[in-house]
Each structure stands twice: as structure tokens, then as C-alpha cells.
Symmetry: C2
Subunit: 329 residues, 2 copies
């Protein structure tokens, strides 16, 4: 077993004091060029790594970011979080931060977990995925001035805190335009009940695009809970109309998959576009809107490191999804 290499070992090896080694690491500009080089050589030669715990004790900063990992809500959308996490870990890594996971059952438990993580581990920042109306978690964090970012806008107060989000309306608008461009005129929307910020946003993009094309009059629009069975049922409703739609934009891949099953029996082909570009969509050839999760994750990290290192950037980032064309539209 090799001896433990501390800052003192490096200092001795490079014939300088501990503090100079520390300066080479944290404030290189105040160290003379030649000394710096000598220290850096010693660091490389000895394979020295600054002990994070000791550093943290002195500075009060852990270079750790916490992210909640949820219990894979509906499954089909679960892999969204998966990809987001990967992007987050990678970008954080590059910025010198590491990602710590936590779980929580309920808001109270989650807040207790914040308290614990902050108290015991001196966590630097939190990333929350999804917020809801009057979220107690963001209030708690804001009150204590703990840096955090949410992936997902706070719909009731868009300026409340830093966030990164994907522009759902821009996505469905893009999908709708694509359908208009390929000749469709009766374009339906299959979404969630009004009241969810994300769902309403996605519906808006479809509606405004149709309106801009002068087609909003009788645009068929249905709302249901998320799910494949639900999607199929509602799509059958749409197909049973006098003038059934020739295309449908869906608020999720689950709904789109259901719709796809319904249109299989239809007399004329019906175009279907989903949302989230889940692996399932890729698997069955469903055209879908892909969220730039890696970019979103990177922006979250940028926002946080900006806050932590004192050079804040624009705290509200809205990203456009991209339409991935496959067989169904």
C-alpha cells in the first residue's frame, strides 16, 4: 500500500510550503511561473489528489449536487429521467461537481431530506425535476437561499427561481406545421385534461398554429389521462366523427401509441405524432418530438455553477424540441 499523498507531501517534494501548493491549485495567478511548474510536476509525479473532505471542512463547499430519482412514474416516460441524469452527471463532472442521488416519499419527506443533505453533506445545490402549483419544496429552498434549479417551469410564477425547460408549445407547433405542410387539414389534438402546465402548453402550440393557418374553427381536441388504453379509446372517438381527422398530434408517446393502435383499423391512413421520443417510439417507428435532454441537463449545471461560482447567467432557459420523423407522419 502506497503512503497517503497529502498536500504536505507535495510541498516537501517541490521544496515549497503547503500554502503555495494550495495556491497553485486554487489561485495559480499569484504563484510565480517557475514555482508553479515545479509544484505541478510534483503533483503529477506523486499522483496527488486534493482530499475533498478536508477542503469541504474549511470552505464549506462540497462540490456535490443532489438530484432526486423518482420511482419511475408511468414507466413509458421513465427513460426521460434516465437520459437527463446521464447528461447531468457528465456535465457536472466536467465542471468539477459530482451528482448525488436521493429519493423521497412525499414533499415533507423530501424537505427533511434536503435538511439532512445540507446538514450532513453540505450539499452545494439541488436539481428538481418537475414542480407543481405552490410547490413547498422550492419555497423551502428559496427561503434558506439554497441554490437550486428546476427542470420544468414554475407555471404560476415564471420568474420565481432559475429553471430550464423544453418549449412544449414550440414542439407541437412544429408538429402541426409539418402536418399542414404535408397537406393535412383536419388535424386533431389528443392531450391531457386542462390544468397541468405541461399539457396546456403542448395543446397551445397546436391550437395557435391551426389558428394562424385559419383552421381553428372545428379543430377536434380531446383530453384524457395519460396511457395507451386511454389514447386508443379517445382516438376511436375522433375517428367516429362525421369528418374524422387525417392527422393527430399527441401530448405524449403513450397517447400516440394508443392512437396508433386505433388508426390501424381506420379506412384511410391517419398521421400520428407523439411527444418525448421515448425508446418505444423509436421501436415502433412513431414520429415524435424529442426533448434535448442532454442540453437541458447541461444548462441546469451551467446555471448552478454560475450561481455557485458567482458569475450568474440568464436564469430562465427555454429549449426547443426537435421533430424526429419516422413512419407515422
Amino acid at each position: 500500500m502506497a503512503e497517503k499523498v497529502t498536500i504536505a507531501t507535495v510541498a516537501r517534494h517541490a521544496q515549497v510550503s503547503r500554502q503555495t501548493v494550495s495556491n497553485v491549485l486554487n489561485a495559480p495567478h499569484i504563484v510565480r511561473e517557475e514555482t508553479r511548474r515545479r509544484v505541478q510536476e510534483a503533483i503529477a509525479a506523486l499522483g496527488y489528489r486534493a482530499n475533498q473532505a478536508a477542503r469541504q471542512m474549511r470552505t464549506g463547499r462540497s462540490r456535490l449536487i443532489a438530484v432526486r430519482i423518482e420511482p419511475t412514474r408511468d414507466g413509458i416516460n421513465g427513460s426521460v429521467l434516465d437520459r437527463f441524469l446521464h447528461g447531468l452527471t457528465e456535465t457536472a463532472d466536467a465542471a468539477g461537481y459530482r451528482v448525488l442521488l436521493y429519493t423521497a416519499r412525499g414533499d415533507d419527506h423530501e424537505i427533511a431530506t434536503y435538511d439532512d443533505l445540507l446538514g450532513a453533506y453540505d450539499l452545494d445545490a439541488f436539481v428538481l425535476t418537475g414542480t407543481k402549483h405552490g410547490d413547498p419544496r422550492t419555497a423551502w429552498l428559496a427561503e434558506r437561499e439554497v441554490p437550486f434549479v428546476t427542470f420544468g417551469r414554475p407555471w404560476d410564477a415564471p420568474e420565481a427561481h432559475p429553471w430550464v425547460d423544453v418549449d412544449g408549445a414550440a414542439g407541437t407547433a412544429q408538429a402541426t406545421r409539418r402536418l399542414l405542410d404535408t397537406g393535412h387539414r383536419r388535424i386533431a389534438f389528443l392531450g391531457w385534461p386542462a390544468g397541468s402546465g405541461v399539457g396546456d402548453d403542448r395543446r397551445t402550440g397546436w391550437r395557435t398554429t391551426l389558428a394562424a393557418a385559419g383552421l381553428d374553427g372545428a379543430a377536434p381536441d380531446r383530453a384524457t389521462e395519460d396511457g395507451i388504453a386511454e389514447g386508443e379509446r379517445e382516438m376511436r372517438h375522433l375517428l367516429a366523427r362525421d369528418e374524422p381527422p387525417t392527422a393527430v398530434v399527441c401530448a405524449s408517446d403513450s397517447l400516440a401509441l394508443g392512437a396508433l393502435q386505433a388508426v390501424r383499423d381506420a379506412a384511410t391512413p391517419v398521421a400520428v405524432i407523439g411527444f418525448d421520443d421515448t425508446p418505444v417510439a423509436a421501436a415502433v417507428g412513431l414520429t415524435s418530438l424529442s426533448q434535448p435532454l442532454a442540453v437541458a441537463a447541461a444548462r441546469c449545471v451551467e446555471l448552478l455553477t454560475g450561481l455557485l461560482d458567482g458569475h450568474p447567467t440568464d436564469p430562465h432557459v427555454l429549449l426547443d424540441p426537435t421533430l424526429v420523423l419516422r413512419h407515422t407522419a
Copy 2:
């Protein structure tokens, strides 16, 4: 801003020394009952939390476990990792450990990351998902006596290190028996090319079960890379035989999904069973073998905490998957 509560604050409040407070936390049995109660009340009243960094500096243990998060290999199986991670985080939490994520491109980079994590963060243990033939990573860790567990057996040396795995053979055996029980006699297997431990294992369960039923003679068996298109293609090959199979056991949900597409056009109905019980399987009603990921994760944590706290358990855990019956079999 409240004053920072340290062990000294608690000690003063409870009229004891720092060390006694420390003992209440780490070795309660050596503290007199009444003193212990007084200290615990002080801890609760002040909301004291032991500073992990300071503790770590003294003990050299961080109560942190690292897990690699992969770049969502093929997508359709991505959510397996997702669920595993969630289980891991939850069990680790209960055992007083936290989960740190890391990514790596290539084995060399991964080993460099180990070095960094161990050097800078004093990581207590690693969880690796999947190992391959002559894995340099496990060798590196073993050489340095770093505690680790793999989720997935080391196929070439089953005793080499602690692992937790799901018994693929038992799974496909169960699936095959189910098909035999429901009257099927021509049961095919659709799997991966020989050489992958997991794939061979899954094939074995099917073969031995057929053999035990005296049906192994002309059991049709095909091998291909994983993927929906590949599954569909190979299934069409099987269906084109003189005596086409009436059922097929697949090594993955991707292959099963492909098979499902192929049998849709078949003259007579063909039963299909997949493996992994991915969200897609649930979505399309595919019967599939479900891996007990939460249990597997829990066992990984148990193994590690056992190693770390000095009461090791049986280091090789093999879990049975369960057959989730849906429409397709």
C-alpha cells in the same frame, strides 16, 4: 441565519464533553442511559447533524457508494438501469449510505475515475452494472481491495468477487414450462449469438426444459443481434419452416416485439414471451419475464454494507425473475 450547530454546541447544551456526544452517536452502549437520553434530547432540540466531511476526515470513510450511469445503451432496455438505480438509492439511504453517480467513456477512463473518486472523495464502495470477460475494472478494484459488487455474474470466474444476478435460465425455463403447460409443443427460442454470458444463460433455460420434456430434438433456435427489426426478421425465418413453432421464447423484449410484429401476419396464433418486462412490454401487452430489480439493488447494498461494516453475507446472490402474464402467452 441560525448559528451552526456542532458537536460542541450539543455537548455544552447537554453538559457533557464532545466525546460523550460522539459516543452517543457511534457507541451508545458505553454511555449511561440517563446521559444518553440527555444528549439525545439536546441533539433533537438543536437539530444537530453530524458533519460528514469532518467525520470522514477522521475515519477515512465517506458513507458514499458510487454507481456508474450508462449512456442508455439501446434505449428499450434503458429503464432497467433506471429502476435499479432507484432501488439502490432507497436501500442505501436506509442503511445510512448515499449514492454518487459517475460516467465514463471506456475502461481506462472508468479506472481513472475510480482513482479520482477514491482519492478525492474517499468512496467506500462501487457498484458495477454488467461485467465482461476479463474485465480490467474488477481486476483493478480487487487489486486495491476496494469493496465492490457487480450486478451481473462474472461468467468466467463465478467466485471471483461478490455479485448479485438474476437467473436468466430459471426465467426462460419458467416461460418454457408455462408454454408446455398450455399445450404448446413446438416452442422456439429467439436469442443472441453464443458468447454473451447472459444470452447463453437464457438460452440454456429453454433448452434444458425442452429436453426434460423430451422435446429437444428439433427445437428451432435462432440467434441475432438485439433489436426489433432483427427479431422480426428471424421470426419470419422461423415461421417459414415446414412445421412452424406455435410459441417463441425471446431473450429480450426488443426481440419479442419484433417477433410480435412478424406473427401478426401468421396463419395461426403464435405465443410470444419476452425478457425484462420493459415499459414497452406492459404497453403492448407482451408477456415477459420481470427482473426483481428493487430486490437486486437491495441485495447489492446489503452485500456492500456487510463488507464495510464487517459482517459479510453470502457474496453470491442469484434471484429468480417472475413471469408476468399478459395477452401474448
